[in-house]
Symmetry: C2
Subunit: 240 residues, 2 copies
DNA sequence: CGGAGGCTTGAGCCCTTTCAATGTCTGTGG
DNA sequence: CCACAGACATTGAAAGGGCTCAAGCCTCCG
């Protein structure tokens, strides 16, 4: 797990991104954290145990999805190392049906009780978490526009653009290529398409010279072209 | 505007729903609020003026939408009286392209600065707002599943179910029927369909005896049937 | 009374799905 | 070292749900 970060690194980064004080940071660092190493496909949230907590990814990728009565699945978010996974889990039962690891990885969790205790005396920390939830909502609404109003090529291209930016932000790209550990069926569940059609779309993107793929590694050969096709503007990711 | 609520009523309701203390409530009531009466179609957010604020609907309906390069529109949320409209507007520039009134109504806003001042000393208030943002995110993700994985009838039925529940919660329904002041074109923009197809879907819902419509008034004649068609479960709305 | 926005309906097309089969890769066990 | 299984990727053919285009109608309002 060469790309793993530490709990301390996670909190430090959060503090830096939100301009938290040294006192705030120390409060975060003092929180009791439980680490778990999970395998690919493992469930991150324990549905039956109603213990509320807030968890984040130290390494590995995860996704959250909703299941429909007819068995269809919609992946509503994908989480990369350094992301919160269940942030609003502090409040109530998870709004999604399942949260699973895409790859092996490490999840850290803080019990809601301990967190609330810290938040009560550190408003700036709560603002930081609130802001993160707002960014999550922003990403949801961007996906909504993508799935509701873009065609298949545009949707897939948009997803690739988003991950290119997010992975670059956490240093998980060596210049041109990055790892997107999702099967085509999972990409389909994230874009509201079928696996067969995702395959054809990726084929088209390859033949147009926009991207190249090798296993689960994506190389973007024509960034401006992909951005244009996706109508992509990274503002909704709430970075810098 | 017989169904208008007051700013005081709004804060009191927020306090009640989140178990805020009397002290918290008084802090909310002391916030300087600007009220604006807007006509149908009026823009709620002033895109050019970067003044950050938090606003909510005292009366009337509004929607937030994203615009795509090709002119397509995706409505990502619809707001009913008593709802926050720009809650995450406290943080940065709005993530949506436009927020407009569906009907004439009154919008109240609190400047971000004044709000932050109160939040710094009232953690429970901030928690309440954060929780509301989490609910907004929950609704986004439910819409994501609807648009990504449900067929047209199911999507429209889902939207109708959601509004039936939300409007009942704020007392904007006289038993069986409620007002949904959206044109079919707007319903289409909210469900990721075309206006023509929404028309046909509504026709089908009428002919199946699930709903009856009169102008913009919707009467649900077969609630269990509509819920079944929509695969609807109101848990994601974060009520009770 | 005229115009504009919204609703309705029909016909044909097309993007995406469905169904089905084949190919590829990887790990496993004989 | 090969046979085998399972998961994933790929491809073709055909069907279909929703879209596009287009016309007609209704209703409200100035």
């Amino acid at each position: 797990m060469s790309d793993a970060i530490s709990t301390k690194g996670f909190w430090t980064s959060l503090a830096a991104k939100n301009g938290l004080s040294q006192d705030d940071l120390e409060a975060l660092l003092s929180l009791p954290v439980r680490r778990r190493n999970l395998g690919a496909g493992a469930s991150v949230a324990r549905n039956n145990s109603p213990a509320k907590s807030c968890s984040f990814l130290l390494s590995g990728f995860a996704y959250a999805s909703k299941l429909l009565r007819d068995g269809a699945r919609q992946i509503v978010s994908v989480h990369v190392p350094g992301d919160f996974v269940t942030l609003s889990g502090v409040f109530e039962a998870p709004i999604v049906d399942e949260i699973r690891m895409l790859t092996p990885g490490t999840v850290a969790s803080v019990a809601a009780g301990a967190l609330h205790h810290v938040l009560a005396s550190h408003p700036a920390i709560q603002t930081a978490l609130w802001r993160q939830t707002a960014i999550d909502a922003s990403i949801f609404s961007e996906w909504l526009a993508a799935i509701g109003r873009r065609d298949a090529q545009s949707r897939v291209a948009h997803l690739l653009c988003e991950f290119a930016v997010r992975l670059r932000a956490v240093g998980l790209t060596n210049g041109k290529a990055f790892d997107l550990p999702m099967t085509q069926a999972q990409l389909a569940d994230a874009t509201g398409l079928t696996a067969v059609h995702v395959n054809r779309v990726l084929n088209a993107l390859r033949q147009t010279g926009l991207v190249a793929t090798d296993k689960r590694t994506i190389a973007i050969n024509d960034w401006p072209g992909l951005v244009a096709l996706a109508d992509f503007d990274s503002a909704y990711l709430g970075m810098d």
